[in-house]
Symmetry: C2
Subunit: 353 residues, 2 copies
Amino acid sequence: MANRASENPIITPAMVLPSRPDFEVLGVFNPAVTRHDGQVVLLVRVAEAPRKMSSALAAAPIFNADTGRIEIKRWQVTEKGPDVSDPRLVVDNGKTWLTSMSHLRVARSTDGIHFDVEGLPALVAANAYESFGLEDPRITHLDGVYWITYTAVSHYGIGTGLASTLDFRTFERHGVIFPPPNRNVTIFPEKIGGLYAALHRPMPEGLGQHSIWTARSSDLKSWGSHRLVATPRDGGWDDTKVGGGAVPFRVHYGKEDGWLAIYHGVTGSPPTYSLGALLLNRHDPSRVRARSREPILKPEAPYEREGFFGSVVFTCGALTDGDLVRVYYGAADGVTAVADLSLQEILSGLVEA
Amino acid sequence: MANRASENPIITPAMVLPSRPDFEVLGVFNPAVTRHDGQVVLLVRVAEAPRKMSSALAAAPIFNADTGRIEIKRWQVTEKGPDVSDPRLVVDNGKTWLTSMSHLRVARSTDGIHFDVEGLPALVAANAYESFGLEDPRITHLDGVYWITYTAVSHYGIGTGLASTLDFRTFERHGVIFPPPNRNVTIFPEKIGGLYAALHRPMPEGLGQHSIWTARSSDLKSWGSHRLVATPRDGGWDDTKVGGGAVPFRVHYGKEDGWLAIYHGVTGSPPTYSLGALLLNRHDPSRVRARSREPILKPEAPYEREGFFGSVVFTCGALTDGDLVRVYYGAADGVTAVADLSLQEILSGLVEA
C-alpha cells in the first residue's frame, strides 16, 4: 500500500555538514515539509553529538543560556556511574542529560525526492527552554506566514515552542506555547469556527495516557479550550502512546469534508512506532469520525528497522495532490525517507469511531 | 511566627452534609478564599466516598459523562487484586481509580473564623474532564468577576479548569485552560503589562521537575508565553516539588513593589507539605527576586500531622490587611484551618534569588 521511494533514505547523515567541527551528525530525520517559492522545503531535525574521544568518557552537549554558548559536559564512566546504559542518555545523580543535541535545518528540492541540505542550521538552541536542542518541527502555512512548532528540550522538560518565517532564511521565535510535558503539536492550516486549532500531545504519568488533544487560539500564541481527541487503543499497534504527526489536511469523506490527521502510534517494549490516520469532524476537530484499523505505514524497510533507534517511522508532514499523499518521515531516528500513499486507500482503511 | 487560630480546625467533615445519602464526607480542605458581599467566602474542597459496606469490597465513585450521573465502581478485593495498598487509590489492570471524589462547596463567615457550610455543592463533576472530581480551587476577583481555577481529575489526567461567578450562587464553566498534567493554577488579581498572568505547575516526569511556571493571557481562557519561575531547591523543605498556593498579592519590598506568592514545597517520603513565599518582579512575574529560606508554615499541629494524608499544610488562598496575612489552608487533607502571619516577618525571611 505504501510506495516507498526507491531513493530511500533520501537524506542521510553523510549529506549533512556538522554545525561545528568537533561534532558529528548522528541523524537527520523527522522533517517538517511545505511548498515555498516553487520548491519543496523540508525543515529537518539534525541530531549531533561531540565526536567520541574515548569510550571511558561520556559527553552531553548543552546550551548555556547565561553565556549563550553550547558547552560539553563530560563524565568519566566508571562502575559507580553515571548510568549510560541507554546510549541516548546520561543519568547522573538522578538528573538526565542527552548525549546528542538536535537543531533544525532547511533542505530544498525541486522534485520532492532529491534534496540539498543547507550547510548551516536554521534554528539552534538559543534559550534555556531549548538547552538540550530543538526537535520534530511541523510547518503550517497560514495567512501568508510559515508557522513552525518544534519540541523544545531542556532540564525544564519537553515542551513546544513556536517560530515563524516568511522565507526560510530568517526566523522569529514566539515563546513556549505548550509547557512541558507536551510535544507533537500540529497547527491546522485554516481557522475553524473563527479560531485557530492545533493538535497537541500532553504526557501525563499515573492518571492519564499519552493521548492526542486539541486546543483553540485566536492568535496562535495563546491556547485554550483543551479537549481530548484520541487515546491509545487496547491491544494493537497504537496501544501505548499516540501523538500528532503530519499537519492535518481537508478531505472529502462521506457526506461532508473532514480533517485527515496522520498520527503515530506506539506499541511494545522496545517500542515500535507506526503511522495511522484520524478523520476529524470538520467543524469540531476534537470529534473523531473514523480511525485507521491498521497502520498505513509501519517499520519494514531495513533503514526503518535498524538505526539509531530502530523500528520507528515518524512523520511531521505530508504533501497532497489529488489522491497522492506523499508522507515525509524519519526512519529509525537516523534518516529521512518518503513514501507515497493513496488517499482513497487510507480512507477505506478507516473504521468508525 | 504563624499564629494558628485557637478554633482550628475551623471546618471539619462533621460540619458538612454529604452530597448524597450513600456518601460520607472524608475531608473538607484546601479552600479558596475571597471577600464578597461583606462576608468572607470560602470555596472548600469536599472529598467524599461511598459508605463502606465491607472491607472485602473496594469502591470508586466516577461521573459518567454519557449518562450524566455519578456511578460507583466496585471490586472484590482478593490477593490477586486490585491493588488497594494506597487507601486513596484502586489500581486495577494498570488503570488507576480514586476511592474518593471531591466537589467544591461554598462556606460563609462574618468574622473569617466561624463558617457556615452550605448544604449543597456549588460545583460538582459535570463532564469527562472532571469524572474523578474537582479539587483545590483558587478565586481571583478581577474586572468585577470571581474567576475560579480548579483541578479537574479524570482518566484523562489531572488538568485545570476555569469557572466564573458573580454571586457564588450560579457558576459558569470555561473549559480546560491547562491540559494535564498541570495543577495549582493561580491567576494574578490585575493585568501586568496589559495581559493577565497566572502561575501554573506542570508535572513532567524524567526530564523536568514539578516546578512553578508563569503564563500570560488576553482573555483568561487561552494561555501562552510559558516561562519557568521556580524549581525545587536541593536539600531543604522544598526539594521535591513546588507549586503555587495562594493567589499572589502586591507588596512593598525594597525600592519597588513586587508580588508575594505563597507556595507549597514538598520533601521526603512520605512527603511533607510546607508553605513558603516567592517575591516576584512586579512587571515580570517570571522573575524571582527573593524566596523564603525556611517555611513560613509547616505541619506541626496535631490536625496537620495526622489525618487522611498526614504532614500536609496546603493553601489555596489568603486575605491581607496591612501587616496581617491570614492564610486559609487544608491540613492533612482532612480539615480546614487558618493561621495569621506577619507580612514583615514573611518578607524578612526572604533571601535573594
